[in-house]
Symmetry: C2
Subunit: 137 residues, 2 copies
């Protein structure tokens, strides 16, 4: 779906800044932090403020357009909201999607937790930590 249409469909206003920010998240698999999105969007909007990026990402998450991940005590944004696990490299800080068999099991895991009496489970995060291919030694 077209990015402007996507924003409208969630009842969000369409501004050049928002289009740029959402386009960035939709086109990367790098799971950028607010800071990184800020750096990227400044290439096109040099005068955009950090606060705008921060608040915009927040509203995107509230609308369910993006996934706000908490990995190693850092927030990272993922344009892919489908359930999947993540890997964090302790050496270089890179965040990768973990694909394969795990992804199918992911939802089963969530369903299992939802059966815990008393708990109202809204979301789930699965984070692996270690070294990525480039940093492996």
């Amino acid at each position: 779906m077209d990015t402007a249409t996507l924003l409208k469909s969630k009842g969000l206003r369409v501004t050049p800044q928002r289009l740029a920010i959402l386009d960035i998240l939709r086109s990367t698999k790098a799971h950028p932090s607010v800071e990184t999105v800020y750096d990227l969007v400044r290439e096109r909007f040099p005068s955009i403020s950090f606060n705008t990026v921060y608040k915009t990402l927040q509203s995107f998450e509230d609308a369910g357009l993006v996934w706000k991940l908490s990995i190693d005590n850092l927030y990272r944004y993922d344009g892919n909201t489908l359930p999947h696990a993540h890997f964090y490299c302790h050496r270089c800080g890179m965040v990768l999607d973990v694909n394969g068999e795990l992804t199918q099991r992911f939802s089963e895991f969530l369903e299992m937790a939802r059966k815990t009496p008393g708990l109202k489970v809204q979301s789930m995060e699965v984070n692996f930590y270690g070294h990525c291919p480039a940093c492996r030694y």
Copy 2:
């Protein structure tokens, strides 16, 4: 095992502060933050510094005595280092262990991720988010 013996077995020095801190973690299921451990240990050692608690917890984690969890961008310490999942209540901030069927599956999940080519997976965190029994409405 006796707490002093446990410290020694990991090559760590035994001090009154360390005994108190490790005892706290071994006797609670509350997954306290550094700040909370600091508050608890001050009941017995009113002049202990935050830094001591912070550094001590860090060395405990390095020695594998405790588990440093990253949940909702906050570090929490768990005296139980056996693999298990956690639940975080967005309302009250409480962290609970998730027991049952999930715990057995936890290690399978880790093994699955370890099969991902190229990755060197060291650890794994599974965090559920939602409302706890007391905060459910």
